[in-house]
Symmetry: C2
Subunit: 364 residues, 2 copies
């Protein structure tokens, strides 16, 4: 009977049940808990997931996140069996500058969504997360109300060797959550590397949380993110900050008008709100509802999801094609030498590439 590892490490909270429990040092209780966490069969996982059993869902997600080969094989079986059962869901990506109040906002947005009925899974993509430290995203201690809500399922970011690995595991976790009836999915990310692009490629609506700056300079968000956003929401529009927030809103609206039309045909909106004081929350979600209606009506919703499915297949292929090449030890050595030659104008970039590729295709 195998034990699933990594279950009690996350800040002393059991991640199995999806709700936080006070840390315990009772060894007998721990031993009992470990004994319960055996591996089920794929069918048992699927059955539990389809019933909406949060504990089994949680263990299945842990399986997906595991880097052990046996776990991965079993996880793929579970995923494949869950694929046909996906529910009608809405997936929302949420990003924002550090300090923008993402966790507080997700807490209050999440509760608002749950009030309307349904269930909510909050996932995260943070390529820099390490199991021992825990990610700053998906931190239940910061989503106080959500973390004790029976309809909410919160997971920190998986850790993996690469963004591609993290993105894949999150994408697969979404499959399990939707099969378990979670019709609302949040995927949170912070601005690390290409993580926003990854999140944008697995959600229906991409929400950018911004802050009003000091003066008229609003920076911190990476180039390209603003153009990805379906909605920009400016937080901390309360008290003395209201004027600045409205100014920022006007500036972002002007900026958005300089961009060409979006593929969806939707004109991205800019709203202000206050996560902490819970002002303007309904308006933010009305905007998202309006968007979903709009893109379902014009067919873009389904079209985008199909494009995303294909994207992940080709993205996966392209990443592994490159991995296979660049991880070859001989290739690594050749490339270092070629880089030197190219930088010192001894060889053109293209001939250097050709030489290495000739070698690669001939050693197969």
């Amino acid at each position: 009977m195998e034990h699933i590892e990594n279950d009690d490490n996350y800040a002393g909270l059991s991640v199995n049940k999806g709700i936080s429990q006070p840390p315990t040092v009772n060894p007998y209780l721990q031993k009992m808990r470990k004994a319960r966490r055996r591996l089920y069969t794929a069918g048992e996982y699927v059955e539990g997931i389809l019933k909406g059993d949060m504990s089994i869902l949680s263990q299945a997600v842990t399986l997906v996140e595991s880097n052990l080969y046996e776990h991965q094989v079993l996880a793929q079986e579970v995923i494949e069996k869950c694929l046909p059962y996906t529910c009608e869901s809405v997936r929302i990506g949420i990003t924002g500058v550090p300090g923008a109040g993402k966790s507080t906002s997700i807490d209050v947005f999440g509760l608002h969504v749950l009030k309307k009925g349904g269930k909510l899974a909050v996932l995260a993509i943070d390529p820099s997360s390490e199991r021992s430290k825990g990610s700053i995203l998906g931190d239940k201690t910061r989503m106080e109300k959500l973390s004790v809500h029976p309809g909410a399922f919160i997971r920190p970011s998986p850790s993996a060797g690469s963004l591609g690995g993290v993105a894949r595991k999150t994408r697969e976790t979404i499959v399990l959550c939707e099969a378990a009836g979670f019709d609302n999915i949040f995927v949170e990310t912070v601005g690390v590397g290409q993580s926003e692009t990854a999140v944008h490629s697995m959600v229906d609506f991409f929400l950018l949380i911004q802050l009003a700056g000091t003066g008229d300079e609003l920076q911190g968000i990476k180039r390209g993110i603003m153009e990805m956003a379906d909605g920009i929401v400016i937080n901390k529009a309360d008290g003395n900050n209201i004027e600045k927030a409205r100014l920022a809103q006007a500036q972002f609206r002007n900026a958005l008008h300089l961009f060409p039309p979006t593929p969806s045909g939707w004109q991205p909106q800019v709203l202000t709100y206050s996560g902490y004081y819970e002002i303007g929350i309904k308006e933010v979600w009305d905007m998202i509802d309006e968007y979903i209606l709009f893109v379902k009506k014009n067919g873009y919703f389904d079209h985008k999801r199909q494009e995303q499915s294909k994207y992940w297949m080709f993205e996966s292929i392209n990443e592994q094609l490159k991995d296979h090449f660049y991880r070859n030890p001989q290739i690594e050595i050749m490339l270092r030498e070629k880089e030197r030659k190219v930088l010192s104008n001894e060889q053109s970039s293209f001939m250097a590439a050709k030489d290495v590729l000739d070698y690669y295709f001939n050693i197969k």
Copy 2:
């Protein structure tokens, strides 16, 4: 004695000499011209290029652009021999919406640059160009004054099977031009596919030509281009249009402030000018001079060129890795079936990718 093909097709103008000649239908003259165009040895091309012989430079560029295997082998030899001789140059990418007045602007910008001394090569990247039709870019009939200036060398876009091919040939043409003493290089592109990204990756300064719109909506430029620009210049700031141009200038300046700092540390500027009436030309070039001074001083100039050289090596590798995979007939068949399965939720994107890759890596 081989004839170099494709030399008289371009709108009846001889591309060999770099200056436009009236179209001729004198068959004897054509025959003589063909007889002169034999292939030199690599050493002869290089010698001619280093002397600044425009005719030999032109023939060498035609060699680079040729898709014939023997020409390519010879071209690579010439390029490699030219690599160490690159002069101190400035490479400027120029893009803009159709109708923005690019050709007129390049004509007047080019003359301004030449007035200060030195030589100017005007190249183009247009992946949609076909030899028989000729590209709309690099059209000498539109660059009237420049095309008769002895210090100017103008080429239309090469044609190739892909953007990657066109970009490569242009990049290699730059090498030859610089070896021939062309210290100013313009690379023009129109907004097709990823051609701006390709141009941005081979120039020092990226100039975006915009127009003032009707009202406050200035569209037409693809997402991501504005963020690539080191300078945005708004054309047709003359007569009744001056007010609109200044309004557009203000809007773009506001928008640029919303973006995070550029890697170079340079704050992109927005200027207005009139290509047709030759107003504000000096200011545009003062901006570019200021930029070059700035990035040479902080080391970014050299750093960027090195990164670009490496970029083209890895880009070339990645493109050919994909080509080798996706052009395999069995893979093509498998992928069509896998796409179907993924879209109908029968298989996850990632498992579909894995199946195809297992097959690919095992048939080598």
